[in-house]
């Protein structure tokens, strides 16, 4: 066996025209496959770091509204789930992780930390013991203890190491005792460095801000648990005397596996990419099969000699298999090397939203995939090579008269090439569609200006910006910032808001007094000058001004979407809306903007000043959302340092983070699309090159097979152009067949990823045609090169015996 393999190795080593393109094709395909497998293994397949993680379920609330995904519960409902549900062995509450926590160091320097609130039940449900110290106890939660759990990473950054337990940290202006260091495996999306005891206060009465995770009790099915939650919701609603929350058809309790909830958003793009790279791998197998077939045809004499000497026909099978196996091994190893080089680059362009990117690498589980991958590659290539193999006529072959004269066509090889063109067209169309979708998103009318604007996020987690002191401290800070930063050279305008455009913000319930109309809408607290800075047109009335301060008549500006939702658009001005028990007069209507993200259309939004906001609302906003700062002017984008220094000098307890131009904020919305475009385009280009190589290889095979025939034709007076046309005609015919088939198959493929595309339409047809044209040009080039080589055949060869 070893001798047999050794001989095949020696034989392959003497055939660079077979080995180089075959190994190259497989290296490209397998590198893509390994990278994708690494991403999928790291992001999706690696188990969650919690024991028996399949028993963990996320209990969410599904709103009727289509644009809102699964949400949390009201604080009261969450409490009832924790206290009254019997379906869970352990269940707990927590809040979304956010970066609004301010950690003040011994030198009074403040930094923002990603943290969350959680109760003892959540940590018990997850079942992950701390690395050091202890987790929260029930009394910590009940008594609102000023204790904290921190990550090992934060402990290291603070220079505390494993001795962090017992240390006191000043968090949001209050001293907290570190009672435990979280396990290194503790993972939430995004990565959490700090956990403080959950408190129901500050969650808002109607806000769906409390999330619930539970571990199912023994013998309880998810369906039974979900039914209990639905029943509990109805009971609580009846006890409270009102529906909880404002209900509508389609809304309700949903229980879903924790893994799906945390990793679900990553599944679709990664599955799409896996499908794409699967096509690429298949293409590579086609190439290998084609090359092995061509080699087998060219080696008929050698095979005939072996058979004449008594070799069993089964030996042919062994030869093809071993050749494909050796080529697959070499291809996979080269691909592994290529993937090892490329993976860091892929991770660098991957969207940060992709969870557990830090765990992506070429590790043992990924390497374990190589075995089935190599076996599949070998089997597919061998099978295709055997199907397309011609029987050897021993007598004719040994006489040297078994020429390619007629009959010996290779329909499978042609089908493989047509298949290659088809697959590459499908891949390229997908890439082009995603690219076009990204471009449409980038060209989306935002409704606000992004040029010459610098943005920053200021964390107002410190205690002085909370509760009773929130209004005074916040408004003083805002006034100072407007004054100081507005005086900077090259800065024309400064504004502050409760959140930046295109980022998640506050929702609140707004009603129209005297009617039963009400809705949960976006709420923005903004400083005067906000609309001017962003060039948001005022459609009716006026903008908010410095006169809209505490004590003066509550004034509200709404956008057109809000006017359409609750008011008649032409009578919106001067109408009255109620929020937090206060009646607000609509003093202006502004144009719609993309408030939440690029994909979602304009959301109904109301704008009020910080000064007129209810202190409780302001306190909640400060707790949950960093204050958004925007500066605009010719030198604004280069004024990051001044901004940080000014904030530091005015309020050392307020860290300024995420200082970046507004256009980067917009670009950040396209990271997923860009990632998909880069990978899909890379796969598409590789596929196209593999197809062109495959076509060229087939034409070269045809040229070799028909060399004598071409010489005869030339001897009979055929001009060179006729010979070229004869060969390229075949190539172009196969290309056209592949293009047509690819165009047809691309349609269902595009439909399958419609959800990922932004406003797909008929205009994309032009794009598909462009892809087909580009592919056709490259294929035509491959055929032309082979055709020109055919023109170099000497007609005198016709006189030679084949």
């Amino acid at each position: 066996m070893i001798e047999f393999i050794s001989k095949r190795c020696r034989r392959l080593a003497r055939r660079p025209r077979l080995v180089v393109p075959a190994v190259g094709s497989l290296a490209l395909g397998s590198a893509g496959m390994i990278i994708l497998l690494a991403l999928i293994q790291g992001v999706l397949l690696n188990p969650l770091p919690y024991p028996d993680d399949n028993e963990l379920y996320f209990a969410s609330w599904r709103f009727h509204s289509a644009h809102v995904g699964p949400a949390g519960h009201t604080a009261r409902m969450a409490r009832h789930i924790v206290e009254d549900s019997s379906s869970f062995a352990a269940v707990g509450r927590y809040t979304d992780a956010g970066s609004g926590y301010v950690l003040t160091g011994p030198d009074s320097s403040a930094r923002s930390v990603t943290g969350m609130l959680a109760d003892d039940g959540l940590l018990a449900a997850l079942g992950l013991p701390p690395h050091r110290g202890r987790l929260f106890s029930a009394s910590d939660i009940d008594q609102g203890a000023t204790v904290a759990l921190i990550s090992a990473r934060l402990a290291r950054d603070l220079g505390l190491g494993l001795d962090a337990v017992g240390h006191s940290l000043r968090i949001d202006g209050t001293a907290h005792e570190v009672i435990g260091v979280l396990s290194r495996d503790f993972w939430f999306e995004p990565d959490v460095d700090l956990i403080l005891p959950f408190s129901e206060s500050g969650m808002g009465a109607q806000g769906h801000n409390t999330l619930v995770i539970g571990r199912l009790a023994d013998g309880v099915s998810p369906q039974a648990a979900e039914a209990e939650l639905i029943s509990l919701h109805q009971t609580v609603g009846m006890v409270a005397g009102q529906p909880l929350p404002p209900d509508s058809p389609g809304a309700g309790m949903v229980l879903s596996p924790l893994g799906d909830s945390l990793l679900g958003p990553a599944q679709r793009p990664l599955t799409l990419l896996l499908g794409a790279v699967g096509l690429l791998m298949l293409l590579a197998c086609f190439n290998v099969a084609n090359l092995v077939l061509a080699d087998a045809t060219g080696s008929r004499g050698e095979t005939a000699v072996e058979l004449a000497l008594g070799a069993q026909p089964g030996r042919l099978l062994g030869q093809r298999f071993s050749d494909c196996l050796l080529l697959s091994l070499a291809g996979l190893l080269s691909g592994l090397l290529l993937a090892w080089v490329l993976l860091p680059l892929v991770i660098a362009v991957a969207p940060v939203e992709l969870p557990r990117l830090g765990q992506v690498g070429i590790d043992l589980p990924v390497l374990a995939w190589l075995l089935p991958l190599g076996l599949a590659t070998t089997l597919v290539s061998t099978l295709l090579a055997l199907i397309g193999q011609h029987s050897v006529n021993l007598a004719e072959t040994l006489r040297g008269t078994a020429s390619g004269r007629g009959g010996e066509r290779s329909p499978l090889r042609r089908l493989l090439v047509i298949g290659q063109v088809t697959l590459s067209v499908v891949l390229l169309v997908l890439a082009a569609m995603v690219a076009a979708s990204m471009q449409r998103l980038a060209d989306t009318e935002l409704g606000f200006a992004t040029d010459q604007t610098l943005t920053a996020q200021l964390s107002l987690g410190d205690i002085r910006y909370r509760e009773d002191r929130a209004a005074q401290s916040t408004n003083q800070l805002i006034e100072k910032l407007l004054e100081e930063l507005g005086a900077q050279p090259g800065i024309e305008s400064v504004a502050l808001a409760s959140n930046l455009p295109l980022t998640r913000g506050l929702n609140n319930f707004v009603t129209r007094p005297g009617t039963d109309q009400g809705a949960s809408v976006e709420v923005r607290l903004v400083s005067p000058g906000y609309f001017d800075l962003l060039d948001v047109p005022i459609r009716q009335g006026r903008s908010l001004s410095a006169n809209d301060r505490a004590g003066s008549s509550p004034s509200m500006v709404i956008n057109q979407a809000m006017a359409r939702l609750l008011l008649e658009p032409d009578v919106a001005l001067d109408a009255t809306l109620s929020m937090d028990g206060i009646n607000w007069q609509v003093v202006g209507v502004v144009s719609d903007q993309r408030e939440v993200n690029l994909r979602a259309g304009a959301q109904p939004t109301v704008f009020i000043t910080h000064q007129q906001a209810h202190p409780a609302l302001l306190s909640a906003v400060n707790q949950w959302f960093p204050l958004a700062l925007m500066m605009r002017g010719p030198q604004a984008e280069a004024a990051g340092r001044q901004l940080r220094q000014t904030v530091q000098s005015l309020a050392p307890e307020v860290p300024a983070d995420n200082i970046r131009p507004m256009r980067d904020l917009v670009a950040g919305q396209l990271v997923l699309e860009r990632f998909l475009v880069i990978l899909l385009t890379s796969f598409g280009i590789c596929a196209l090159l593999l197809s062109a190589t495959g076509l060229f290889g087939l034409l070269e095979f045809e040229r070799a097979r028909r060399r004598h025939e071409m010489a005869v034709r030339m001897a009979l007076g055929a001009p060179a152009a006729s010979i070229v046309a004869g060969l390229t005609g075949s190539g172009l015919a196969w290309t056209l067949a592949g293009l047509a088939l690819g165009g047809l198959l691309a349609l269902p493929a595009v439909r399958a990823l419609e959800e990922l595309l932004h406003e797909p339409g008929l205009a994309d047809l032009g794009l598909v045609i462009s892809v087909l044209l580009v592919s056709a040009v490259l294929m035509a080039l491959a055929t032309l090169i082979s055709g020109l080589r055919a023109a170099g055949i000497r007609p005198a060869e016709a006189l030679r015996q084949e």
């Binding site: 025939e709 030339m714 007076g717 001009p719 006189l799 084949e802």
Partner: protein, 256 residues
């Protein structure tokens, strides 16, 4: 086919040298040859004497290294590849040893093939000429057969029809009986005789003296040169003697 008494082929001091890495092979040297319209010439000689090289130059499949070649009165030295292809198509008809029919094409399509390289000829005209050529070689009953379905003799008759169909100035036959048994070989030779009787100019390369004698003029080649019959006989006798001497010395060595 032209039946004038003009010279079809005129070779003056023609030579051909092949160069490989470090070897210079003189395949032809000092060839002077004239073939007149309507002549039937055979070129014979032992293997490697340059017969096929000469034929490939005569058929414009290859170019001479030196000397002059005039075909139908026109020098061929300055012709482009395109012009050479056009002349091959219109003035030369090839008959190959291995027939060289194209396996993917039917009999009639094979015969039509040279005409498809001519511009301005309609499909029906091509088909008519092909049928006429096939009738001349008595193969009209096998129009739609493929070459693989024919015997060797039949394939060569089709190849002759293909050579005739364009009404060339000269037929060049390279060992036309080389792949045939004696019966089929003789039939092909009779066919060539018939064509010659009809006015065709034929130049045939063969190493078989029996078939060479079918031609009205026989040319002998030896080591790249044209020699007369007497010289040829002497050279062959000398060669025979050398071989016998070699065999004799070999047997003596074995006996001792």
């Amino acid at each position: 086919m032209s039946t004038s008494e003009q010279d079809i082929i005129q070779l003056e001091d023609l030579s051909k040298v092949f160069y490989t890495d470090e070897v210079e092979t003189h395949a032809l040297s000092g060839i002077h040859l004239t073939i007149r319209s309507g002549e039937y010439v055979s070129i014979s000689g032992p293997s490697g004497c340059g017969k096929s090289t000469l034929l490939s130059i005569l058929g414009l499949l290859d170019t001479p290294s030196a000397g002059s070649y005039r075909l139908s009165g026109h020098g061929i030295e300055q012709l482009t590849q395109k012009e050479r292809a056009a002349i091959r198509n219109r003035q030369v008809g090839f008959i190959f040893q291995a027939f060289n029919l194209i396996g993917d094409l039917t009999v009639v399509e094979n015969v039509e093939l040279p005409l498809t390289y001519r511009r301005g000829m309609g499909k029906q005209e091509r088909r008519d000429q092909a049928l006429a050529a096939l009738e001349r070689v008595d193969m009209a009953h096998r129009l739609n057969h493929y070459p693989a379905q024919l015997s060797g003799g039949q394939q060569q008759r089709v190849a002759v029809a293909r050579a005739l169909v364009g009404e060339p100035a000269i037929l060049l036959a390279d060992e036309p009986t080389g792949n045939l048994d004696s019966r089929n070989g003789e039939q092909v030779m009779l066919l060539l005789n018939e064509l010659h009787a009809g006015g065709a100019t034929i130049c045939m390369v063969t190493h078989d003296p029996r078939y060479a004698s079918f031609a009205e003029r026989q040319i002998y080649m030896y080591d790249g040169q044209i020699v007369d019959e007497e010289t040829m006989s002497r050279l062959r006798a000398e060669e025979e003697a050398r071989i016998q001497a070699l065999l004799g010395s070999r047997q003596e060595a074995l006996a001792s």
